[in-house]
Symmetry: C2
Subunit: 158 residues, 2 copies
């Protein structure tokens, strides 16, 4: 069993640093401006491995003393989702940081209802099954949402 979710005692500072570093690269590659506001929102999202809502981000910004309004947050989110630096969990109306923004991947998200963490899987069997099922019924796929809710290994153990 390999746990998708990061170890309890892991050095999360490294997660954040790495995510910021990768984000810079992706933005650069896309000729997109990784502005201050966008970086702030991105960093807030990466404060944990949980999904966070737009208004939680707004509160966090305001707590930092930034005078932000909803559109500011939603714009940053739109930008970050566009570059696939973050993903949106439709069933939670919330966002979390992608830890492999460079690799093209079909999003498959495991969401723990207990600890709130979200982990992303890249599973070729699942991707293939979706493509095959679509092929059989002549459906032209444009986007796929796969959200799996339950208990992560840690939380299931307790």
């Amino acid at each position: 069993m390999t746990d998708l979710f990061p170890d309890k005692g892991h050095d999360h500072g490294r997660c954040i640093d790495s995510a910021l570093h990768q984000a810079e690269i992706v933005a650069e590659a896309n000729n997109a401006r990784f502005t201050n506001m966008r970086r702030r929102v991105f960093t807030l999202i990466w404060q944990s491995h949980k999904a966070i809502t737009a208004y939680e981000l707004l509160d966090a910004l305001q707590a930092e003393g930034v005078r932000a309004q909803p559109p500011t947050v939603y714009r940053a989110l739109e930008f970050l989702v566009g570059l696939r630096l973050i993903h949106r969990i439709e069933s939670l109306n919330a966002y979390f940081g992608c830890d492999m923004p460079d690799c093209e991947h079909l999003g498959q998200y495991f969401i723990c209802r207990n600890c709130g963490r979200v982990a992303e899987a890249v599973n070729e069997d699942m991707s293939r099954a979706v493509r095959t099922a679509a092929g059989i019924v002549g459906f032209k796929i444009e986007a796929t949402t796969i959200e799996i809710k339950g208990l992560c290994h840690d939380c299931a153990a307790h």
Copy 2:
């Protein structure tokens, strides 16, 4: 190629009748009351194979002369979702009628962005891939959302 989506010229009255009939049976089996309001909402949802939002339902009810408020609609929706007579599309905040409420199935929805129709697939490969992926990472699944957006066969042809 077998099209998941109903034929353009199909007799939709039969879809509605059949859905109502099955709903009666499911409600009965669950000792649940398929009240007038619930039947009305259910019937409205089944007016088409598209997904419909809570407020569209509310408007439709009001157009029928029913003095309904949001809670009324949301309660009916909660009831119907609970019995799996309808499903919610998270990425659309909308609902559509299940055409096999009797069989236990993992929801896998194909959503056409052009015609708006939703069709449900029951694909064992997909289900198995999800279960396997979860098993590998020690995740205990409680609910799964699979929403595939794109163009249905008919719409892709034009």
